[in-house]
Symmetry: C2
Subunit: 234 residues, 2 copies
């Protein structure tokens, strides 16, 4: 552990689900609109379109920021939920709910503590404007916002993980990715990064806890970002 603490210079964080509670936040916004739909189900349907939309962008070799993908998916989900009559201004406002996601209770304190010793960065598939608005809304104290838009590639493309190391002119082993998703961490590990898993059992809502069992391959397993800070001596 001491060796790891000394070697790592930069901690990059996945954001959706790891730092902020997208399900609870989108659910609340949808329910506050009194649309007559289940906010939690709406949030899940919207998020379900996320991976396929990014995969399609990467396959086509086009570049489209996440705000645009979120909007394309939203228009489909609204139709599926029988809400086709929603006007343009309301759709636009709702689409920006992803700019207003709330942090998990430990995120701000954990990040602030880690910032005292490490360079802390986002590494999200969100776009720069989305992440800057979110940081201001949620009080996330990033040293720097790095994301898919910085590298014109979506995770898990290696350019994103390696891009963090290149940005700071350090070796991949001096960068740690913290995320609530084993697949994201595995892709980072394949690029030589250290990896820290963060348990977020309620990422998909309070009805059913997500499996947060440890994977041995990760450098660290943490119950929260505060726990990660403690493990790294902050």
């Amino acid at each position: 552990m001491t060796e790891l603490r000394e070697r790592v210079k930069v901690i990059a964080f996945d954001v959706f689900g790891t730092v902020v509670d997208w399900h609870g936040s989108v659910k609340r916004e949808v329910e506050a609109m009194n649309l007559g739909v289940d906010g939690g189900e709406f949030a899940l349907a919207w998020r379900a379109g996320y991976q396929p939309a990014m995969a399609e962008v990467m396959q086509r070799g086009e570049w489209v920021i996440l705000d645009v993908l979120h909007r394309r998916i939203l228009d489909r989900v609204l139709a599926d939920f029988g809400l086709d009559d929603m006007d343009e201004a309301t759709r636009h406002h709702l689409n920006r709910a992803w700019h207003r996601l709330d942090p998990w209770p430990d995120s701000v304190e954990g990040l602030t503590r880690l910032k005292s010793k490490f360079m802390i960065s986002s590494l999200s598939n969100g776009n720069i404007g989305l992440l800057a608005d979110m940081a201001k809304h949620a009080g996330l104290p990033w040293d720097v916002i790095l994301c898919a838009e910085t590298f014109n590639k979506y995770k898990p493309h290696p350019d994103t993980y390696r891009g963090v190391a290149r940005t700071f002119e350090v070796d991949p082993g001096e960068v740690m990715l913290a995320a609530a998703h084993h697949g994201d961490l595995e892709a980072a590990r394949n690029c030589g990064l250290e990896t820290a898993y963060i348990e977020r059992p309620w990422e998909y809502g309070r009805d059913e806890a997500k499996n947060t069992a440890p994977w041995d391959a990760n450098s660290l397993h943490n119950t929260s970002i505060i726990h990660l800070a403690e493990q790294l001596g902050c």
Copy 2:
């Protein structure tokens, strides 16, 4: 003024000279190395290579980050100052002096006050890693780091100024550039941005004050970043 305060959403800052004192900081680092040269003259010679190097990059259509340009210029300046025998590790360390520039005395307070009401961003020709290291060193509380590397263009290319507006999905008139250089502000104005001049009479050293006379075309003229915050009601 009230109209301006209400309209502007994002304030983007030029950094070298406007927020940080590159001349004084580089001078101090060079003098601390006891190289037997005048630190102030060395800093001026290094900086003199900056505009031509960027212009060459833009003309060739290649993309090279500022750390690399700084290093190319440094190698030439070392030769000119008879310091050709400097070893690689020392050159590398010296080149990163630009990551360790100190803020002007009003910068941190001014930015912190502006951050309470506006989205505050860098818009520098520095690269992302340089600006993130500098922000951590100097305590600059950016909401987001935007720069030439974000847009793969050096100022005064219009893509940089328009890129700030596009990042936040706002009109160019909702963005204000703050800078100590009338040319930078003029280029921003030509893209529809509001402009705030910041007086930095000692940008090129204490020997001779820079002409900081107002240009009527700027939206605001300020003696410091704190003064800008006051003018904008922060």
